[in-house]
Amino acid sequence: MKYVDEFRDPQVISGVAREIARTVQPGRRYRVMEVCGGHTHSIYRHGLRDVLPENIELIHGPGCPVCVLPTGRVDDGLTIADRDDTILTCFGDMMRVPGTKGTPLELKARGADIRMVYSPLDALRLAQQNPQKHVCFFSIGFETTAPSTALTILRARALGIENFSVFCNHVTIVPAMRAILDSPDMRIDGFVGPGHVSSITGCRPYEFIARDYGKPVVVSGFEPLDILESILMIVHQLHAIEARVENQYKRIVPWEGNMPALAAMAQVFELRPYFEWRGLGFISQSALAIRADFSAFDAERIFDIPGVRVTDPRGAQCGEVLKGVLKPPQCKLFGTECNPEHPVGALMVSSEGACAAYYRYAMRAAVEA
């Protein structure tokens, strides 16, 4: 399969792995954060830990959309599904994220009309097919998914659809990276930069990390070969005492980003003054709201959303894991109360969540031992 097989060739991968092993300095530790959940998933899915030297430590970052969504926002969104005349739609990942009264899947089993869609456009189509109902899309995600939400809202307006809205939870990655860099327990030497986010934003937004914090950033693809090559590029920068933003994922990521997508986002969204992130707390200017001009499609203006704040479940240490301070199995609930079937924290829900990836692919039932 084109664009897949050539990046999974065992011989080439082994070659890069050997090169990394030859290059690293014994006795030195390299703490590399892969920002994006897609990278976390790929690292476990392809067993990359096994081919990296011991002294390269991979720290899983906050780039998993459902993982950083606080419980309060889940509860807020689910109140929309309480209404008889409403169909709530969301991505598959969202279906198992626990709110205080249960996951969307559990509410659906009890009769709420909640449906999984693969694209916000599917939700818009649902609205066209069900004119007697209101269809709300529970939107989550970073700059990767925000353009498709923006374009859907633009299309809804162009088509004059009145029974469609978006509960907007889009967040932006750079403020979260800054929050981690400013965190006093931060111990990171370099970043594997997000691939899909950067296909929209380009590479420029990371320049402050190299300039102000002196940490290398390598924007990376998601195949095993991409990730290993990016790690090698970070190691080279560290050895040369350099800090630059490099683009390993040139086949997808233009340095300047995707202008039409950014324009659509700018037309529909504006920055929120602040937004709550699970584990990281409130981060200023870190999330997107729908502009007043499009308020007819903004679920937060149409519905009476309670705006609740819910503290994380007792014992769950999602925040520490999100910041890379703790490894998933070091959390008190890992594998016991919190497992992929019954997640307590959202990091256990998505296959991009550090805990779920760790549990599924590396240490199933670790705490049973």
Binding site: V4, R45, H46, G47, L105, P224, A362, M363, R364, A366
Partner: protein, 349 residues
């Protein structure tokens, strides 16, 4: 990477309501069966949790199995609910080394179902049964109000004659044994997913629904000696079937990731949708564990049957890590391959 081995434990059912995941064939289904249902019926035949139950009638051992079919849509590329009902039931008998003899079928029909739809499904069943050389000898019909069922559901009961030349028992499996797979995986589950039309994805793909008895018969003819275990990896896929096996043993199973056969359309759909092909349902494949020295002969036997050309050795039984299924790739990376968790796919069988 440290892989910690799970202990064998009987699941407890503490869920407060039934959800779709309980029907998906993965962890939740197993908990429902072993934690809620089986304890009430507790007996040695049931406790084996095999695809077919062997019972003695006046000194003769017969294999029996029951199955239910709730697939939507009723017709899909490569098959339909009627064909699935016959093949699915017969395959549960076949992988228990039982030659299918007879079937019973019960139809739960929704008021308003076009008679023509029912008739074409009955006809599909008749054709599939005739192909497999079995008779449908009885059954029942019930009708429920409009809106109370999804067109039609079919439940079946099947009887087969056990092949006395072979004893299938997971307890005979040893490290070094090989895991064979009859052909490419994932076609059924992905076909159904696409046939529902909820995704803007199209692929040239048909369900793999077919009887596996001809392949099983070939194995039984050519290499009875080393045949240890068989299973058809339906809901929950190859990963779930092998995990259920591994949890019974004092060894583990390694899958050679690059060896697992699948069509590009299945692989592409899984890459796009974030699904693991090893979790996707199959309706015309089976897995066999066979002693290493018989593996080549067994593969040759499978490949000699028309439709078995892509049979491969996909893995082996290893002493460590115990009670786990791991994936091993060509550059030495390993991962744990777990049972299906949750319900990634709509009703598929």
């Amino acid at each position: 990477m440290a892989i910690v081995q799970p202990r064998r434990k009987t699941p407890r059912f503490a869920d407060t309501q039934i959800e779709m995941a309980h029907g998906a064939g993965g962890v939740a289904s197993r908990r429902l069966l072993e934690g809620l249902i089986a304890p009430y019926f507790s007996n040695p035949v049931l406790q084996a949790f095999n695809d077919a139950a062997t019972i003695d009638v006046a000194g003769t051992s017969i294999a029996t199995t029951a199955d239910g079919f709730v697939v939507r849509p009723l017709r899909f590329p490569g098959g339909s609910i009627g064909e699935l009902a016959v093949n699915g039931t017969l395959n549960d008998l076949a992988v228990s080394a039982a030659k299918p003899i007879a079937l019973m079928a019960t139809f739960i029909l929704e008021a308003g179902l076009p008679a023509g739809t029912l008739e074409s499904e009955v006809e599909a069943m008749a054709i599939a049964a005739r192909k497999a050389g079995v008779f449908v000898v009885g059954g029942d019909t019930k009708v429920v109000e409009h809106g109370q069922a999804d067109g039609m559901y079919i439940t079946t009961f099947g009887v087969g004659e056990l092949d006395r030349r072979v004893t299938l028992d997971a307890a005979t499996i040893r490290p070094g044994d090989k895991v064979l797979l009859s052909g490419p995986i994932g076609a059924h589950g992905i076909t159904i997913l696409l046939a529902r039309g909820e995704l803007d994805l199209q692929a040239d793909l048909v369900s793999d629904t077919r009887p596996v008895w001809p392949f099983v018969a070939a194995l039984l003819e050519r290499c009875t000696a080393g045949l240890r275990w068989m299973r058809d990896p339906t809901r929950g896929g190859v990963a779930t079937a092998l995990n259920e096996l591994a949890r019974e043993g004092s060894w583990g199973i390694a899958i050679f990731e690059e060896q697992v056969p699948m069509d590009d359309a299945v692989r592409g759909a899984c890459e796009l949708l974030g699904l693991d092909p090893l979790h996707i349902a199959n309706e015309g494949q089976f897995l066999a564990v066979i002693a290493s020295e018989h593996a080549d002969a067994a593969l040759a036997a499978l490949r000699a049957v028309p439709g078995g050309e892509r049979a491969v050795c996909v893995g082996e039984v290893r002493a460590e890590p115990k009670r786990c299924v791991i994936g091993v790739n060509g550059y030495g990376g390993t991962r744990v391959i777990d049972m299906l968790v949750g319900d990634p796919l709509p009703r598929i069988c």
